[in-house]
């Protein structure tokens, strides 16, 4: 029986992961951490004195609150053996300069502190973390196949948001061969959810409205549903070895199609004008310059998931496509085929 801690459980992917783990009989207790108050959806999970789920508000980016939490009697009593870290994607993942905490972007600071405390905590044996597949260096081309051994984008000019994902990836990668702590890193591409919600895409996620794309380029975007991500986390928790795994769904679509599916408007701008567009966007009060500079505007990728199939026995079970929603509008939906 596993006793699991889930970070950012109040955010959409965290909620989905928590729900999946809650219904897994092999998980005896779940400690959920979040920034804000517990979501209403957790009411039934946390109700009662013998509830399997407990919720706590902790600012994971700050040293003192994290340290206090990991040394608290509550954490010790919970005897957590597995930590599921879902880095913050937030509502403004596309912002050019992620919030800086002690000189580090918030996402990086969180991952670093969490790793440090997982290594120190005696009861913790497993760390399953979600990473982004946008850490890979994209070679030119509309679509490129990438496996776990593909090169990471260590270009110093990489946009800040992508850089923070790379930093998180390297922090976790550095401990993959740790003898005491089993580290599993799941690299996911653009995550979508029923209703047309979209996370982790450097350009399209974040606030709605218009988004630019490079004229003459329509890169293929690999997709995965939030439910499949939750299943992958579940598989990783109960797998035996450490490792880095690409997780992706069956579908991959061009950026323009994805934007249409999630109801985002995109404008094709000639490449040389993109920097001008970035300045203009900034003048309009939108921090979109990150989304204007990345290679992902021109080059796409799909992920080779054979390693996850073999080691984690993970296979995507959701189809992603357009379906008519309750209000009659066509929206992106994920349909389970399991």
């Amino acid at each position: 029986m596993m006793r699991v801690l889930v970070t950012h459980a109040d955010e959409p992917i965290g909620r989905r992961a928590l729900k999946t783990l809650y219904h897994d009989e092999r998980v005896s207790a779940i400690l959920a951490l979040g920034h804000g108050p517990p979501p209403r959806a957790f009411d039934k999970f946390v109700a009662g004195a013998d509830a399997r789920v407990q919720y706590a508000r902790v600012d994971l980016a700050k040293h003192r609150p994290v340290s206090d939490f990991f040394h608290s009697s509550r954490f010790r009593a919970a005897e957590i053996d597995t930590v599921v870290h879902i880095p913050r994607h937030g509502a403004t993942a596309a912002e050019s300069d992620p919030p800086i905490v002690a000189g580090l972007p918030e996402r990086t600071a969180e991952t670093r502190l969490l790793m440090q405390h997982c290594l120190e905590a005696e009861s913790v044996r497993n760390l399953v973390a979600l990473g982004s597949a946008f850490v890979y260096k994209l070679p030119p081309g509309n679509v490129n196949r990438l496996d776990e051994d593909s090169e990471l984008d260590l270009d110093p000019d990489v946009p800040g948001d992508v850089r923070s994902w790379i930093d998180c990836d390297m922090i976790l990668h550095g401990e993959v061969h740790n003898d005491r702590l089993r580290v599993v890193l799941l690299r996911v591409p653009t995550v979508v959810a029923s209703g047309g919600y979209l996370y982790f895409h450097p350009t399209l996620s974040g606030p709605g409205g218009g988004h630019v794309r490079s004229m003459g380029f329509d890169p293929i975007c690999a997709l995965v549903s939030d439910k499949d991500v939750a299943r992958a986390i579940q598989s990783a928790i109960f797998s035996r070895g450490p490792g880095i795994y690409n997780i992706a769904g069956r579908e991959s679509v061009p950026l323009s199609v994805l934007a249409r599916w999630v109801g985002r408007r995109t404008f094709a701008v000639p490449g040389p004008l993109l920097s001008i567009a970035a300045t203009g966007t900034r003048l309009l009060g939108r921090e979109a310059s990150t989304a204007l500079r990345g290679r992902h505007l021109r080059y796409g990728f799909t992920l080779d998931t054979r390693r996850a199939e073999r080691d984690l026995d993970f296979r995507p079970s959701d189809h992603i496509g357009l379906a008519r929603a309750g209000d009659g509008a066509l929206r992106l939906e994920t349909i389970s085929t399991a």
Partner: protein, 372 residues
């Protein structure tokens, strides 16, 4: 000298006496590679075989079952992918023609396109390399018109193209614009049953070109990265490579039909994937747009792979880049099954890989010389 090397030397002498080797003129592939690694390998295999036959058979030692703790998961080979099934042409039931495209294409081509549309798994409109059957269908009438009317392609040796499983097709490359690749792809699709879509490996530079990169991907072409190549072969597809690369495109009229330096990555991938290498020659592409001179400094300044001067370019502007209506001939050679002899571990031997690449180059050059 080993028996095998003596035999090879004898075969060469016989060929010279018969005057066949003279057809090549000066052998352009002579490279100081030291002792022949192929002969060395053959000798080693022969010795191993003799020893194995002489030794009494012992039961194989039991191997420990691999577990997750026994080693890093990063080192293990990935699982084989389930291959997509393209139906045979006879299995395709054609619906009534609807729309202009259906009327433009003969039934035979529509059947081929319908069969190829099965390459896309699931319900999505694209495969994982961005191939779109709809875009291919829209583009096919144009390329088929080029195939039949403009280049008047004739081809033979289709029996050498494997009907199923992975294969690496290695061809010569010329003619500034890659019409040779387009004609080869159309030819392979029209002359295989079930039809096979050759996935041509294109230069990374093409991936940076607006619109071109999208079009290439939608009609099934891929950028030449290690992962793309390995994944295609693993899925049992035909990969069409031009190991001369950009050097083939920029060769001048004086070098026409002479192969340039070959890159070797395709041999490595073929050995690892256990796929045969099929040499093929495209005759006509060297004449479609003969390069008189390549202004390399200008190309460097403009960031282009080549700045050609041809009889019509730049004098006629962009129109000068239109290929001349030369007649194409495509010839497929006997498959070279290096993987059966050397196995995937042969890919780790750099000298052997270089040697095999030169053998492929020689085979392609022979095809060119014999069919010109």
């Amino acid at each position: 000298m080993s028996t095998e090397s003596r035999d090879l030397a004898r075969v060469a002498e016989v060929l010279v006496e018969a005057g066949e080797a003279l057809a090549l003129g000066r052998d352009p592939f002579e490279e100081p590679i030291g002792e022949d690694p192929l002969a060395q390998r053959l000798d080693a295999l022969e010795r191993l075989d003799r020893r194995f036959r002489a030794a009494p058979r012992r039961p194989e030692p039991l191997r420990p079952v691999a577990s997750a703790e026994s080693g890093s998961s990063l080192r293990r080979a990935p699982a084989r992918r389930q291959r997509t099934q393209v139906p045979a042409l006879a299995e395709i039931e054609l619906p009534k023609p609807s729309g202009l495209l259906d009327h433009l294409l003969p039934d035979e081509s529509r059947r081929v396109l319908m069969a190829l549309s099965h390459m896309v798994e699931g319900e999505g409109p694209y495969d994982r390399f961005g191939f779109s059957p709809d875009v291919t269908k829209a583009a096919f009438p144009f390329f088929q018109a080029l195939y039949r009317a403009w280049f008047r392609v004739k081809s033979h040796g289709h029996a050498n193209i494997p009907g199923s499983g992975p294969a690496v097709l290695v061809s010569n490359h010329a003619g500034l614009l890659p019409f040779d690749a387009a004609m080869s792809i159309v030819d392979i699709a029209l002359h295989t049953d079930p039809p096979r879509l050759a996935r041509a490996v294109v230069d990374r530079w093409a991936g940076t070109l607006p619109w071109v990169n999208v079009f290439y991907a939608r009609v099934g072409q891929v950028i030449g990265t290690r992962e793309n190549f390995a994944d295609l072969l693993d899925e049992g597809q035909i990969v069409l490579v031009y190991p001369e690369g950009i050097e083939g495109v920029r060769k001048t009229i004086a070098q026409r039909y002479r192969l340039q330096h070959f890159r070797v990555g395709f041999v490595e991938h073929a050995l690892r994937a256990g796929s045969p290498i099929v040499p093929m020659a495209v005759l006509g592409s060297d004449d479609q747009m003969p390069v008189l001179y390549d202004v390399k400094p200008l190309a460097r300044q403009l960031g282009l792979p080549v700045a050609p001067i041809t009889p019509t370019f730049p004098w006629l502007g962009p129109l000068g880049l239109l290929p001349y209506p030369v007649s194409y001939r495509i010839v497929y050679g006997e498959p070279l099954r290096f993987h059966e002899r050397f196995g995937p571990e042969g890919a780790d031997d750099a000298r052997l890989v270089r040697y095999l690449a030169n053998q492929v180059r020689r085979a392609v050059q022979l095809l060119i010389d014999r069919n010109r």
